[in-house]
Symmetry: C2
Subunit: 219 residues, 2 copies
Amino acid sequence: MRHFDVEMNDLQNRLLDMAGLVQAMIKAATQELVARDPKQADTVFCFEKKVNIQEIVIDDKCLKLIALNQPVGADLRFITSAMRINSDLERMGDEAVNISRKAFDLIKHSELNPLVDIPKMIEVVQNMVMDCIRAFNTNDSELALSVLAKDDEVNNLKNRVFDDLKILMVKASDMETIQRVVDLMFIAKSIERLGDHATNISEDVIFMVHGKDVRHPRT
Amino acid sequence: MRHFDVEMNDLQNRLLDMAGLVQAMIKAATQELVARDPKQADTVFCFEKKVNIQEIVIDDKCLKLIALNQPVGADLRFITSAMRINSDLERMGDEAVNISRKAFDLIKHSELNPLVDIPKMIEVVQNMVMDCIRAFNTNDSELALSVLAKDDEVNNLKNRVFDDLKILMVKASDMETIQRVVDLMFIAKSIERLGDHATNISEDVIFMVHGKDVRHPRT
Protein backbone atom coordinates (compact mmCIF):
# COMPACT_ATOMS: atom_id res chain seq x y z
CA MET A 1 0.00 0.00 0.00
CA ARG A 2 1.29 3.44 -0.91
CA HIS A 3 2.12 5.79 1.95
CA PHE A 4 -0.65 8.12 0.75
CA ASP A 5 -3.23 5.31 0.90
CA VAL A 6 -2.12 4.42 4.42
CA GLU A 7 -2.61 8.05 5.44
CA MET A 8 -6.04 8.22 3.77
CA ASN A 9 -7.06 5.06 5.62
CA ASP A 10 -5.85 6.57 8.85
CA LEU A 11 -7.92 9.71 8.17
CA GLN A 12 -11.04 7.63 7.61
CA ASN A 13 -10.41 5.63 10.78
CA ARG A 14 -9.91 8.75 12.83
CA LEU A 15 -13.19 10.17 11.60
CA LEU A 16 -14.95 6.89 12.38
CA ASP A 17 -13.45 6.92 15.89
CA MET A 18 -14.65 10.49 16.35
CA ALA A 19 -18.09 9.52 15.05
CA GLY A 20 -18.13 6.68 17.60
CA LEU A 21 -17.40 9.14 20.40
CA VAL A 22 -20.13 11.49 19.20
CA GLN A 23 -22.65 8.65 18.95
CA ALA A 24 -21.76 7.65 22.52
CA MET A 25 -22.24 11.26 23.63
CA ILE A 26 -25.69 11.41 22.00
CA LYS A 27 -26.66 8.10 23.58
CA ALA A 28 -25.46 9.19 27.02
CA ALA A 29 -27.14 12.63 26.87
CA THR A 30 -30.47 11.21 25.76
CA GLN A 31 -30.28 8.37 28.30
CA GLU A 32 -29.61 10.96 30.96
CA LEU A 33 -32.94 12.54 30.04
CA VAL A 34 -35.06 9.47 29.31
CA ALA A 35 -33.73 7.12 32.01
CA ARG A 36 -33.26 10.06 34.43
CA ASP A 37 -29.65 9.04 35.04
CA PRO A 38 -27.38 11.99 36.00
CA LYS A 39 -24.22 9.83 35.86
CA GLN A 40 -24.41 9.88 32.05
CA ALA A 41 -23.31 13.52 32.16
CA ASP A 42 -19.77 12.37 33.02
CA THR A 43 -19.51 10.45 29.75
CA VAL A 44 -20.76 13.42 27.76
CA PHE A 45 -18.28 15.87 29.24
CA CYS A 46 -15.33 13.48 29.17
CA PHE A 47 -15.93 12.59 25.51
CA GLU A 48 -16.44 16.22 24.53
CA LYS A 49 -12.83 16.97 25.47
CA LYS A 50 -11.65 14.09 23.28
CA VAL A 51 -13.84 15.19 20.37
CA ASN A 52 -12.52 18.75 20.54
CA ILE A 53 -8.94 17.50 20.41
CA GLN A 54 -9.71 15.11 17.55
CA GLU A 55 -11.33 17.89 15.53
CA ILE A 56 -8.08 19.87 15.52
CA VAL A 57 -5.92 16.78 14.87
CA ILE A 58 -8.09 15.71 11.92
CA ASP A 59 -8.16 19.18 10.33
CA ASP A 60 -4.42 19.39 10.65
CA LYS A 61 -4.04 15.97 9.08
CA CYS A 62 -6.28 16.99 6.14
CA LEU A 63 -4.21 20.10 5.45
CA LYS A 64 -0.97 18.09 5.54
CA LEU A 65 -2.44 15.42 3.25
CA ILE A 66 -3.29 18.10 0.69
CA ALA A 67 -0.01 20.00 1.01
CA LEU A 68 2.24 16.94 0.81
CA ASN A 69 0.38 14.83 -1.76
CA GLN A 70 -1.43 17.33 -3.97
CA PRO A 71 -4.43 15.08 -4.46
CA VAL A 72 -7.02 15.66 -7.19
CA GLY A 73 -10.43 14.21 -8.10
CA ALA A 74 -11.96 11.69 -5.72
CA ASP A 75 -9.04 11.87 -3.26
CA LEU A 76 -9.32 15.63 -2.95
CA ARG A 77 -13.11 15.36 -2.57
CA PHE A 78 -12.63 12.78 0.17
CA ILE A 79 -10.28 15.06 2.11
CA THR A 80 -12.40 18.20 1.85
CA SER A 81 -15.52 16.19 2.72
CA ALA A 82 -13.62 14.82 5.71
CA MET A 83 -12.97 18.40 6.89
CA ARG A 84 -16.66 19.19 6.62
CA ILE A 85 -17.79 15.97 8.31
CA ASN A 86 -15.24 16.63 11.05
CA SER A 87 -16.85 20.02 11.70
CA ASP A 88 -20.38 18.56 11.71
CA LEU A 89 -19.36 15.81 14.14
CA GLU A 90 -17.86 18.35 16.52
CA ARG A 91 -21.05 20.41 16.43
CA MET A 92 -23.09 17.28 17.09
CA GLY A 93 -20.97 16.79 20.19
CA ASP A 94 -21.86 20.35 21.22
CA GLU A 95 -25.57 19.57 20.84
CA ALA A 96 -25.14 16.46 23.01
CA VAL A 97 -23.57 18.73 25.64
CA ASN A 98 -26.54 21.12 25.37
CA ILE A 99 -28.97 18.23 25.84
CA SER A 100 -27.01 16.86 28.78
CA ARG A 101 -26.83 20.24 30.56
CA LYS A 102 -30.58 20.76 30.30
CA ALA A 103 -31.36 17.14 31.20
CA PHE A 104 -29.18 17.47 34.29
CA ASP A 105 -31.41 20.28 35.60
CA LEU A 106 -34.65 18.70 34.42
CA ILE A 107 -34.24 15.34 36.15
CA LYS A 108 -33.84 17.01 39.53
CA HIS A 109 -37.60 17.56 39.39
CA SER A 110 -40.48 15.15 39.03
CA GLU A 111 -41.23 13.96 35.50
CA LEU A 112 -43.09 16.26 33.19
CA ASN A 113 -45.89 14.70 31.19
CA PRO A 114 -43.78 11.72 29.83
CA LEU A 115 -41.55 13.87 27.60
CA VAL A 116 -44.27 13.99 24.92
CA ASP A 117 -42.80 12.76 21.60
CA ILE A 118 -39.16 13.49 22.43
CA PRO A 119 -38.15 9.80 22.83
CA LYS A 120 -39.57 9.14 19.35
CA MET A 121 -37.54 12.04 17.93
CA ILE A 122 -34.43 10.66 19.61
CA GLU A 123 -34.99 7.26 18.01
CA VAL A 124 -35.38 8.64 14.48
CA VAL A 125 -32.38 10.96 14.80
CA GLN A 126 -30.12 8.29 16.29
CA ASN A 127 -30.89 6.12 13.26
CA MET A 128 -30.08 9.02 10.93
CA VAL A 129 -26.74 9.52 12.68
CA MET A 130 -25.93 5.81 12.53
CA ASP A 131 -26.83 5.61 8.85
CA CYS A 132 -24.89 8.68 7.74
CA ILE A 133 -21.76 7.34 9.44
CA ARG A 134 -22.25 3.91 7.89
CA ALA A 135 -22.80 5.58 4.51
CA PHE A 136 -19.51 7.45 4.96
CA ASN A 137 -17.71 4.25 5.98
CA THR A 138 -18.96 2.22 3.02
CA ASN A 139 -19.31 4.96 0.37
CA ASP A 140 -23.01 4.13 0.22
CA SER A 141 -24.77 7.05 -1.43
CA GLU A 142 -28.13 5.22 -1.45
CA LEU A 143 -28.01 4.98 2.33
CA ALA A 144 -27.01 8.66 2.47
CA LEU A 145 -30.05 9.54 0.35
CA SER A 146 -32.30 7.61 2.75
CA VAL A 147 -31.05 9.85 5.58
CA LEU A 148 -32.06 12.99 3.66
CA ALA A 149 -35.54 11.51 3.28
CA LYS A 150 -35.99 11.35 7.06
CA ASP A 151 -35.53 15.09 7.58
CA ASP A 152 -39.26 15.82 7.13
CA GLU A 153 -40.21 13.16 9.67
CA VAL A 154 -38.00 14.82 12.28
CA ASN A 155 -39.44 18.24 11.51
CA ASN A 156 -43.00 16.92 11.84
CA LEU A 157 -42.17 15.25 15.14
CA LYS A 158 -40.55 18.43 16.41
CA ASN A 159 -43.62 20.46 15.48
CA ARG A 160 -45.82 18.02 17.40
CA VAL A 161 -43.52 18.19 20.41
CA PHE A 162 -43.61 21.99 20.27
CA ASP A 163 -47.42 22.01 20.06
CA ASP A 164 -47.66 19.77 23.13
CA LEU A 165 -45.16 21.87 25.04
CA LYS A 166 -46.98 25.10 24.22
CA ILE A 167 -50.17 23.63 25.68
CA LEU A 168 -48.22 22.86 28.86
CA MET A 169 -47.01 26.47 28.88
CA VAL A 170 -50.53 27.86 28.65
CA LYS A 171 -51.52 25.75 31.65
CA ALA A 172 -48.41 26.57 33.70
CA SER A 173 -48.48 29.54 36.02
CA ASP A 174 -45.24 29.12 37.96
CA MET A 175 -41.65 29.83 36.90
CA GLU A 176 -40.39 26.35 37.74
CA THR A 177 -42.75 24.62 35.32
CA ILE A 178 -42.11 27.21 32.61
CA GLN A 179 -38.36 26.70 33.01
CA ARG A 180 -38.76 22.95 32.58
CA VAL A 181 -40.95 23.27 29.49
CA VAL A 182 -38.51 25.76 27.94
CA ASP A 183 -35.66 23.31 28.65
CA LEU A 184 -37.58 20.51 26.93
CA MET A 185 -38.23 22.78 23.95
CA PHE A 186 -34.54 23.46 23.52
CA ILE A 187 -33.75 19.77 23.95
CA ALA A 188 -36.15 19.06 21.07
CA LYS A 189 -34.43 21.80 19.07
CA SER A 190 -31.02 20.22 19.76
CA ILE A 191 -32.29 16.82 18.63
CA GLU A 192 -33.59 18.42 15.44
CA ARG A 193 -30.16 19.96 14.88
CA LEU A 194 -28.52 16.56 15.32
CA GLY A 195 -30.71 15.44 12.43
CA ASP A 196 -29.62 18.51 10.41
CA HIS A 197 -25.98 17.60 10.91
CA ALA A 198 -26.68 13.99 9.88
CA THR A 199 -28.26 15.47 6.74
CA ASN A 200 -25.15 17.60 6.10
CA ILE A 201 -22.90 14.56 6.47
CA SER A 202 -25.11 12.58 4.07
CA GLU A 203 -24.85 15.37 1.50
CA ASP A 204 -21.08 15.24 1.88
CA VAL A 205 -21.07 11.48 1.34
CA ILE A 206 -23.07 11.91 -1.87
CA PHE A 207 -20.66 14.61 -3.03
CA MET A 208 -17.69 12.43 -2.10
CA VAL A 209 -19.01 9.44 -4.05
CA HIS A 210 -20.49 11.17 -7.11
CA GLY A 211 -18.83 14.60 -7.16
CA LYS A 212 -22.31 16.06 -7.22
CA ASP A 213 -23.35 18.86 -4.87
CA VAL A 214 -26.87 18.07 -3.63
CA ARG A 215 -27.25 21.00 -1.26
CA HIS A 216 -30.08 23.47 -1.82
CA PRO A 217 -32.06 21.34 -4.32
CA ARG A 218 -34.86 23.90 -4.38
CA THR A 219 -32.65 26.95 -5.02
CA MET B 1 -0.12 39.34 -11.51
CA ARG B 2 0.09 35.55 -11.75
CA HIS B 3 -3.05 33.71 -12.83
CA PHE B 4 -3.16 32.00 -9.42
CA ASP B 5 -3.12 35.36 -7.62
CA VAL B 6 -5.92 36.64 -9.84
CA GLU B 7 -7.98 33.57 -8.92
CA MET B 8 -7.23 33.98 -5.21
CA ASN B 9 -8.33 37.61 -5.43
CA ASP B 10 -11.50 36.54 -7.16
CA LEU B 11 -12.17 34.01 -4.38
CA GLN B 12 -11.77 36.69 -1.73
CA ASN B 13 -14.05 39.08 -3.63
CA ARG B 14 -16.72 36.41 -4.04
CA LEU B 15 -16.67 35.71 -0.31
CA LEU B 16 -16.92 39.43 0.43
CA ASP B 17 -19.89 39.73 -1.96
CA MET B 18 -21.55 36.80 -0.24
CA ALA B 19 -20.82 38.36 3.15
CA GLY B 20 -22.46 41.57 1.90
CA LEU B 21 -25.58 39.64 0.93
CA VAL B 22 -25.70 37.91 4.31
CA GLN B 23 -25.27 41.20 6.15
CA ALA B 24 -28.13 42.66 4.11
CA MET B 25 -30.26 39.61 4.99
CA ILE B 26 -29.53 40.07 8.70
CA LYS B 27 -30.33 43.78 8.48
CA ALA B 28 -33.59 43.14 6.63
CA ALA B 29 -34.74 40.33 8.95
CA THR B 30 -34.06 42.33 12.10
CA GLN B 31 -35.63 45.49 10.62
CA GLU B 32 -38.69 43.41 9.76
CA LEU B 33 -38.98 42.64 13.46
CA VAL B 34 -37.94 45.94 15.03
CA ALA B 35 -39.54 48.36 12.54
CA ARG B 36 -42.49 45.98 12.02
CA ASP B 37 -41.98 46.08 8.26
CA PRO B 38 -43.18 42.90 6.48
CA LYS B 39 -41.76 44.06 3.11
CA GLN B 40 -38.25 43.26 4.38
CA ALA B 41 -39.09 39.56 4.06
CA ASP B 42 -38.80 39.86 0.26
CA THR B 43 -35.16 40.92 0.54
CA VAL B 44 -34.38 38.05 2.89
CA PHE B 45 -35.88 35.38 0.65
CA CYS B 46 -34.52 36.83 -2.59
CA PHE B 47 -30.98 37.06 -1.18
CA GLU B 48 -31.15 33.58 0.33
CA LYS B 49 -31.42 32.09 -3.15
CA LYS B 50 -28.34 34.03 -4.24
CA VAL B 51 -26.40 32.98 -1.15
CA ASN B 52 -27.22 29.31 -1.70
CA ILE B 53 -25.96 29.48 -5.28
CA GLN B 54 -22.83 31.37 -4.23
CA GLU B 55 -22.05 28.76 -1.57
CA ILE B 56 -21.84 26.03 -4.20
CA VAL B 57 -19.92 28.21 -6.68
CA ILE B 58 -17.34 29.20 -4.03
CA ASP B 59 -16.82 25.63 -2.80
CA ASP B 60 -16.32 24.47 -6.36
CA LYS B 61 -13.84 27.26 -6.97
CA CYS B 62 -11.88 26.31 -3.84
CA LEU B 63 -11.61 22.68 -4.94
CA LYS B 64 -10.42 23.70 -8.42
CA LEU B 65 -7.89 26.14 -6.94
CA ILE B 66 -6.41 23.31 -4.89
CA ALA B 67 -6.50 20.70 -7.66
CA LEU B 68 -4.97 22.94 -10.34
CA ASN B 69 -2.42 24.89 -8.30
CA GLN B 70 -1.42 22.57 -5.46
CA PRO B 71 -1.02 25.40 -2.99
CA VAL B 72 0.82 25.00 0.34
CA GLY B 73 1.31 27.11 3.47
CA ALA B 74 -0.57 30.38 3.72
CA ASP B 75 -2.28 29.93 0.33
CA LEU B 76 -3.67 26.52 1.29
CA ARG B 77 -4.77 27.89 4.67
CA PHE B 78 -6.54 30.73 2.89
CA ILE B 79 -8.46 28.36 0.63
CA THR B 80 -9.53 25.93 3.35
CA SER B 81 -10.48 28.85 5.60
CA ALA B 82 -12.51 30.24 2.70
CA MET B 83 -14.43 26.94 2.51
CA ARG B 84 -15.20 27.13 6.19
CA ILE B 85 -16.18 30.81 6.11
CA ASN B 86 -18.37 30.07 3.08
CA SER B 87 -20.24 27.47 5.12
CA ASP B 88 -20.64 29.79 8.12
CA LEU B 89 -21.94 32.59 5.91
CA GLU B 90 -24.54 30.29 4.36
CA ARG B 91 -25.71 29.20 7.79
CA MET B 92 -25.93 32.84 8.87
CA GLY B 93 -28.24 33.36 5.93
CA ASP B 94 -30.36 30.47 7.21
CA GLU B 95 -30.62 32.13 10.62
CA ALA B 96 -31.72 35.38 8.95
CA VAL B 97 -34.46 33.37 7.22
CA ASN B 98 -35.50 31.87 10.58
CA ILE B 99 -35.70 35.34 12.11
CA SER B 100 -37.67 36.70 9.15
CA ARG B 101 -40.20 33.84 9.19
CA LYS B 102 -40.93 34.32 12.88
CA ALA B 103 -40.96 38.12 12.62
CA PHE B 104 -43.47 37.88 9.77
CA ASP B 105 -45.94 36.10 12.08
CA LEU B 106 -45.13 38.23 15.11
CA ILE B 107 -45.75 41.62 13.54
CA LYS B 108 -49.27 40.66 12.54
CA HIS B 109 -50.14 41.13 16.22
CA SER B 110 -49.77 44.08 18.54
CA GLU B 111 -46.32 44.64 19.97
CA LEU B 112 -45.20 42.50 22.83
CA ASN B 113 -43.54 44.29 25.73
CA PRO B 114 -40.99 46.25 23.55
CA LEU B 115 -38.98 43.17 22.48
CA VAL B 116 -37.10 43.25 25.81
CA ASP B 117 -33.32 43.35 25.12
CA ILE B 118 -33.49 41.83 21.63
CA PRO B 119 -32.64 45.12 19.82
CA LYS B 120 -29.52 45.43 21.99
CA MET B 121 -28.52 41.83 21.09
CA ILE B 122 -29.03 42.64 17.40
CA GLU B 123 -26.74 45.67 17.66
CA VAL B 124 -23.89 43.75 19.32
CA VAL B 125 -24.15 40.81 16.90
CA GLN B 126 -24.32 43.03 13.80
CA ASN B 127 -21.07 44.64 14.94
CA MET B 128 -19.49 41.20 15.44
CA VAL B 129 -20.53 40.21 11.92
CA MET B 130 -19.20 43.45 10.43
CA ASP B 131 -15.90 43.12 12.29
CA CYS B 132 -15.26 39.47 11.41
CA ILE B 133 -15.78 40.24 7.72
CA ARG B 134 -13.51 43.28 7.91
CA ALA B 135 -10.93 41.15 9.72
CA PHE B 136 -11.12 38.60 6.89
CA ASN B 137 -10.82 41.34 4.26
CA THR B 138 -7.78 42.97 5.86
CA ASN B 139 -6.10 39.94 7.50
CA ASP B 140 -6.55 41.69 10.84
CA SER B 141 -6.18 39.08 13.56
CA GLU B 142 -6.41 41.71 16.33
CA LEU B 143 -9.85 42.69 15.10
CA ALA B 144 -10.78 38.99 14.88
CA LEU B 145 -9.70 38.54 18.51
CA SER B 146 -11.93 41.45 19.53
CA VAL B 147 -14.91 39.59 18.02
CA LEU B 148 -14.19 36.51 20.16
CA ALA B 149 -14.21 38.76 23.24
CA LYS B 150 -17.81 39.82 22.55
CA ASP B 151 -19.20 36.29 22.75
CA ASP B 152 -19.80 36.50 26.52
CA GLU B 153 -21.67 39.80 26.15
CA VAL B 154 -24.07 38.18 23.68
CA ASN B 155 -24.60 35.18 25.96
CA ASN B 156 -25.34 37.45 28.92
CA LEU B 157 -27.80 39.49 26.87
CA LYS B 158 -29.50 36.33 25.66
CA ASN B 159 -29.86 35.04 29.22
CA ARG B 160 -31.46 38.35 30.22
CA VAL B 161 -33.83 38.18 27.25
CA PHE B 162 -34.77 34.60 28.17
CA ASP B 163 -35.41 35.57 31.81
CA ASP B 164 -37.73 38.37 30.71
CA LEU B 165 -39.54 36.13 28.25
CA LYS B 166 -40.05 33.41 30.86
CA ILE B 167 -41.72 35.95 33.14
CA LEU B 168 -44.07 36.80 30.25
CA MET B 169 -44.79 33.07 29.85
CA VAL B 170 -45.72 32.68 33.50
CA LYS B 171 -48.19 35.55 33.16
CA ALA B 172 -49.64 34.38 29.83
CA SER B 173 -52.63 32.08 29.87
CA ASP B 174 -53.61 32.02 26.19
CA MET B 175 -52.04 30.16 23.27
CA GLU B 176 -51.60 33.26 21.12
CA THR B 177 -49.39 35.02 23.66
CA ILE B 178 -47.40 31.85 24.37
CA GLN B 179 -46.82 31.41 20.63
CA ARG B 180 -45.47 34.95 20.35
CA VAL B 181 -43.16 34.59 23.35
CA VAL B 182 -41.83 31.27 22.01
CA ASP B 183 -41.20 32.94 18.64
CA LEU B 184 -39.26 35.74 20.33
CA MET B 185 -37.23 33.17 22.26
CA PHE B 186 -36.18 31.43 19.06
CA ILE B 187 -35.41 34.78 17.43
CA ALA B 188 -33.06 35.51 20.36
CA LYS B 189 -31.55 32.05 19.87
CA SER B 190 -30.99 32.75 16.15
CA ILE B 191 -29.31 36.06 16.96
CA GLU B 192 -27.04 34.25 19.42
CA ARG B 193 -26.17 31.76 16.67
CA LEU B 194 -25.29 34.61 14.30
CA GLY B 195 -22.77 35.66 16.94
CA ASP B 196 -21.46 32.07 17.14
CA HIS B 197 -20.88 32.04 13.38
CA ALA B 198 -19.09 35.41 13.59
CA THR B 199 -16.90 33.80 16.25
CA ASN B 200 -16.18 30.82 13.97
CA ILE B 201 -15.20 33.14 11.12
CA SER B 202 -12.92 35.11 13.45
CA GLU B 203 -11.20 31.88 14.53
CA ASP B 204 -10.68 31.06 10.85
CA VAL B 205 -9.15 34.49 10.21
CA ILE B 206 -6.70 33.96 13.09
CA PHE B 207 -5.82 30.52 11.72
CA MET B 208 -5.44 31.97 8.22
CA VAL B 209 -3.10 34.72 9.39
CA HIS B 210 -1.02 32.88 12.00
CA GLY B 211 -1.53 29.19 11.17
CA LYS B 212 -2.65 28.75 14.77
CA ASP B 213 -5.84 26.89 15.65
CA VAL B 214 -7.55 28.84 18.44
CA ARG B 215 -10.67 26.67 18.73
CA HIS B 216 -11.44 25.00 22.07
CA PRO B 217 -8.99 27.01 24.20
CA ARG B 218 -10.23 25.34 27.36
CA THR B 219 -9.95 21.76 26.10
